[in-house]
Amino acid sequence: MSAILGLRTAAAVTTAKLVAALSRRLGFGGGTALPGLVADAVVPRLATRLAARLGHGSVLITGTNGKTTTARLVRNVAQAAGYRPVHNHSGSNLMRGITACLIEATDARGQFPQPERRLGIFEVDEATLPEAAVALSPRVVAFTNLFRDQLDRYGEVDSVAALWRPAVASLPPTITVVLNADDPGVAGLADACRGSVLFYAVSDISCAVDQIEHAADARWCPSCGREYSYSAVFYGHVGQWVCPGCGRGRPAADIEATRVKQSPDQPLRLALATPSGQFDLSLPLMGLYNVYNALAAVSVAVALGVPVDAIREGVASFTAAFGRQERMTVRGREVHTILAKNPAGLNQVLRAISAEEGPKNLLFFLNDDIADGRDVSWIWDVDFEMLAGQAALLLASGRRAADMALRLKYADIDADPAIEEDTESALEKALALTPEGERLYVIPTYTAMLHVRKLLARWGQRPPFWEEG
């Protein structure tokens, strides 16, 4: 019986590898999803069989924002600790993408080289989490945050939460769940957990903003219906929350950022308190949202028992996932590309940008492909108004460039928004209008980011500070 299964697994892996090679050859993109689909047709539950061969098991990371960055941080930390990660780094985060990634890491017989050192690190789409949690039998499941994102695909924020709760409840008690204590929508999952929970949080209240942002989502207590009150809001609905009705509140954190130092052009500096002791961390990224990503990654590392030195080394060696946050020099201008795909994410990007000095040159790309979300109404929930008095250049591009320009017009930012729909012409124009020596911020949605990256990679150079370690 097992011999036959073994043969079939090998056959599925071989077929899938052929399909991957073929699809790359024929130019169907990177061949990341198709082989998974094909392998599933040959052997159902192939991912389960392959994942069972990972010596250290696997880690799942999900949430609206930050899952790619968090997964990459965990990968770096795992490498520094001597693991050999199997990681869906291309961001293909549905089941077929994860299956394809497992296939790619195995040989023709479906065996991993050095299986005893293998750790699966998978970023998982929010709606795919229940399926992945069953199929992959993870050791650790980490949640970043829960915001509105692509309502045309997920339906509603509540429906994502409704999917997560039973998925968490059905995990065996041996599994550690990592939760963001500062996001009430995520922290509340603890009630459903049967095993141990690690909470992470920011406790440095100098990071707080004055008021809750327009794009805040989880504002009402699901137990009693009262509106949460906040002693500090860090971004969106993330902060130090408590329900005045039933007293539910932000749980005590296991992994805590006790001090956060942000300064322009410098890596973020964090002081952390963890069950493995207190230590400092240097993170070559900007924005408070990346502090949360680092906290999630450190929590996963703590759950896996990774020593502090490996955590520090892994995080310091980090480079942002391509295009998500990337700096390069192009024609004497410093081009800073930051992915933004929903209101909470874009608010954080804008906040980080407005914290830097001097007039800002800004190029926004708004696409409405399925991967971006077909509904662009979310841009009206973004607080572009915070850029008032700061913009020297405002250029809108992408399939919905006119929508973006109109939103910028209504934000009253001073500079008149201009439109250049074509990606290449928009980049050319933005570079020409950005004075030499100044910085150009390029802020694309997902599909636009892929195109922008390709062009910039051809034209520019990455400074050593940001190079892959």
Binding site: H214, R374, D375, A402, A405, R407, Y410
Partner: protein, 252 residues
Amino acid sequence: MEAALRLAHLYPKLMNLYGDRGNILSLRRRCQQRGITLAVDELELGDALDPAAYDLVFIGGAQDREQQRVAVDLLGTKAEALHQAVEQGVVLLAVCGGYQLLGRYYRPAAGEELAGVGIFDAWTVHPGPAAKRFIGNVVVRWRGGTLVGFENHGGRTYLGPSARPLATVIAGFGNNGRDGSEGVVQGENAFGTYLHGSLLPKNPRFADHLIAQALRRRYGDVELEPLDDVLEERAHAEAVRLAKKKPIFGRR
């Protein structure tokens, strides 16, 4: 023109799902540029609505859970005042979930029927979780031209004999995906629609239609100065073009 208008924004915290803030920004800006002050009051759960205090009322869309709480609050604290306001000619715009709640009733896929405020002679039925959700770009024709937006609703809305459709569907689904109608006009001054996106910034003629109506009621015959709408009209035209084009799915 020296004039002032007052708008009641109902449940801006609970009903704010699809960029509805843009509708308020559009009204405020289009008034401001003509020297009209637009004051906006935000009314949440439990807040009473003074029917004599307002020229305009706006309500947006929400998730199901929030919609239920709003339904209860509307009936408890605001229904009577809303009826009085609309009878007195106050201009009302209700989008998506707000549109549904101001009809006669909403019958969800599961659970109890929600009683509506009954401003609109319309009712909404959700045909069940297996039924197709109406999602996509939409373009419709109303008496002032085309309207563009995005729709995302499971419920199907049907109009009774005393209501007229706001528009007819050119591309998209509209009220129920069957009879080609979109939205509702009750009397002359109460409007309901499934179009978000935000609606008003990209449909400046419709925004002006609402403002002019509110002004006329308070100040008599008025003529609105034209504004520089180059960007608004461009976004409108682009949205018409995209809505008419069938999306190519699976292209990544």
